[in-house]
Amino acid sequence: MVGTGGGAAGMVVAAGASTGLARAETAFSLAFHICFAVFGVGMPWLLLYTEGKWVRTGDPVWLALTKKWSRAFAVLFAVGAVSGTVLSVEFGLLWPAFMARYGGVLGLSFTLEGFAFFAEAIFIGMYLYGWKRLSPRAHWLTLWPIAIAGTLSTLFIITANAWMNVPGHVRELDGKVVSAEPLAPFLSPSAPAQIVHMLLAALMCTGGLVAGVYAAGMLRGRRDTYHQRGLRVGLAVVLVCAPLQLVSGDLAARVVGDRQPLKLAAMEGLFHTRTGAPLTIGGFYDNATGEVRYGIEIPKLLSLIEGFHPDARITGLDAAPPADRPNAALVHGAFTVMVGLGSALIVLAALVALVMLRRWRRGRGGRHRSGADGVGRRPLVPTGRPWLWAAVATGPAAMVAMLAGWEVTEGGRQPWIVYGRMRVSDAVTASPGVGWTFAGTIVLYLGLATALILILRRMATGGRGPDAPALPSTRPPLDDVDDGDPRPVSPRVEADARAGARALGRGGRR
């Protein structure tokens, strides 16, 4: 921005507004996309389990769960796919200078991600529409490429983000990349921890929301085998991953402290560079004073955690000039939310594990040996009302924690789009009208999200609402023979499931 007097000031103001809007639009579309993308990662693994159980046992309850989830998955994956396309173009529309300079560096990540997405889309077509054209075993096998490709696509895309956080292996001259190691994104020290952290987050979100759907059903009195199993599978995923997430988060924070000390300072709300830095839990960081209000301060703990010594020196925000500091109020707030919700999930995991252990010991005592599959005896997983409410909360908690985590990653990198190499304000588009596209994006995405929630709610409750077509015949007749079975609900499957559950119940009590 070269210029003199008022003209230059005007341009700076315009660029500032445009940068803010472009960042907001990017954040909004990324957040929208990622809420769907996590199911593309997590759901196939859950389906592999439930459909595998059905293939092995022939139990209709497992089939009913699988069919229900595959239908929800179909819708979620499609919305994730199209919103992902928006992102790939939007980077060029909003950050043309960034893409022009570093597109080649990130080429391998995006190319490989594209292929993973390709594989996922191909096999999802076979999976969703191949129920009758494939044997049960072959149908189950199509889930493997979906699950592996979904996981790999996360891995590839996170390497691109990791490189933006800790860029390296690139030589630049006068603002142009003259040579870059093709594997640069994969060599970013930030990549391993970020990848594991995100994969676990995707599994937790999927597991939590699945558990929540069935917990909500049980709260309404539907305490059949179908709901119990749905709850168990979802809860197992979210609660097993929660403690693992603590470990991976710790690793990620170490890399941040090492490579992006200002981000760590913003996360912890530490203004003054010092030895023996305290760990501040919660509270609100004040950008004006550089202090955390209402936080709980534990002396020397941050130094101990990060440097393995109570007097280790920790970089504070004051190490950089104000223009180079991230917005610590926002980053510390997001970090607090993420850690708070993550800790709550870990506590829940511990409590559930404790109850399960006690019930298992008591069960082994031999008084309630009868019954299979949790029907004839007390199930291991606690299903009292408070427990169910907690299970309902796990999904939203995991989702919000994940979004907050992304705010920490991205907000903490500011004002850089590529850490230490390119500023966000230098990457942003000069074109007017970002405000209009942002407004349009919000309207479009909120409309689609609302419709999607209505559809998923219908799928989750499994019944027809009052506004549903009165007769099945009002549905297109051809759809009834469709492989994808895209009817509003499959009442027969539901009925089969309930009948199966009843039969099992009787079997158990005999």
Partner: protein, 336 residues
């Protein structure tokens, strides 16, 4: 041939796959929009079922081309991003609405508004997307772009006719493909006659628009036009021959062969344009050489693409073979 040129060839291949596969999916939406009369409902269901298993995989070809463009020719992508926002945003909105509306109609069961509404959204979005992409392609050929005038691509007649041409061509492809789908099952045989009429009309309309486009190409994109005369005549002949063959084959109810001929007709247009466009990516702004990423990165991408295709192509063949056979009544009896 340099790595950049090789990557361009791969991108044209990807674009061809996108046009022939996803293009037909969009064209199906155009026919959904235009469906009228007694058979309208059956036609819409035929289209919807043809899309079901494959549209997402077909869509990924666009992502493939986009990724190759922004990774391999980053500077060109930067220029496109800052001058072609309006048609690109239209295409994106179309892509998002088409995909969402399709699954909302197929799986929503009316929970979020009547299926009919989503059907309309699906149809309109399917028509807007190829139009916007056609306008984008035209702008790359004319180079008539400005950072401060994002609406310019939509104000010249060449761009608009190109958009219309893209819509017509996708509709033509879809109708040809649907003829065979409809003929494959007794339940849909009554739709063949209508689809065949549409395919014939689509072929004639595409040919007429192509005839209009040629003089416009010379007036609006002289650089590309000169190279077109120099290099692209064989492709133009291929395209015209394919189109004529498709007409004859449709007339004689040879629907499988008509698919191949129609595909060649469309591929000929794309290849002729690509040959005339080279070495410019955006005429007057970016060439293959000026915009290319460092050689080592291009080679790495090409290796990744080669390895990726080893997995993707067989998978895709498997997908198409699995769903090539139309549903039979046996499927109905087999309902869970």
């Amino acid at each position: 041939m340099s790595a950049a040129d090789l990557l361009l060839v791969v991108m044209v291949g990807g674009l061809t796959a996108y046009a022939l596969l996803a293009g037909a999916d969009f064209g199906g939406g155009v026919w959904d929009l235009l469906a009228r009369g007694r058979d309208a409902g059956d036609q819409r269901r035929l289209i919807s079922r043809a899309l079901g298993p494959v549209w997402e995989a077909n869509h990924v070809w666009l992502i493939f081309v986009l990724v190759a463009l922004f990774s391999g020719f980053s500077e060109a992508f930067g220029i496109i991003g800052s001058t072609l926002q309006v048609p690109l945003i239209c295409a994106l909105v179309g892509i998002v609405l088409r995909g969402s509306a399709y699954v909302y109609r197929a799986y929503g069961g009316g929970a979020a508004g009547p299926d009919r509404w989503w059907g309309h959204v699906f149809a309109v979005a399917s028509t807007v997307t190829p139009f916007a992409l056609g306008v984008t392609g035209a702008a790359l050929a004319t180079g008539d772009l400005a950072e401060d005038d994002p609406w310019r691509p939509l104000t010249n007649s060449f761009g608009l006719v190109c958009g219309l041409f893209a819509v017509t061509v996708t509709a033509f492809l879809a109708a040809v493909y649907l003829c065979r789908d409809a003929a494959g099952s007794p339940a849909t045989e009554h739709l063949v006659a209508g689809m065949r009429r549409r395919a014939l009309a689509g072929a004639l309309a595409s040919g007429a628009l192509a005839a209009v486009l040629l003089p416009l190409l010379w007036s609006d994109a002289p650089v590309v036009a000169d190279r077109f005369a120099e290099r692209s005549i064989p492709f133009a002949v291929l395209s015209a021959g394919g189109g004529a063959a498709a007409l004859v084959l449709l007339w004689r109810h040879r629907f499988t062969a008509a698919r191949v001929a129609a595909g060649l007709a469309v591929a000929g247009v794309l290849w002729g344009w690509a040959a005339a466009q080279y070495p410019d990516l955006v005429v007057g702004r970016a060439t293959a050489n000026s915009a290319a990423a460092p050689e080592a990165n291009l080679v790495a991408m090409l290796i990744a693409i080669a390895l990726g295709m080893l997995v993707i192509v067989p998978s895709m063949v498997l997908l198409f073979r699995l769903f090539a056979r139309p549903d039979t009544d046996a499927d109905l009896a087999d309902e869970h």
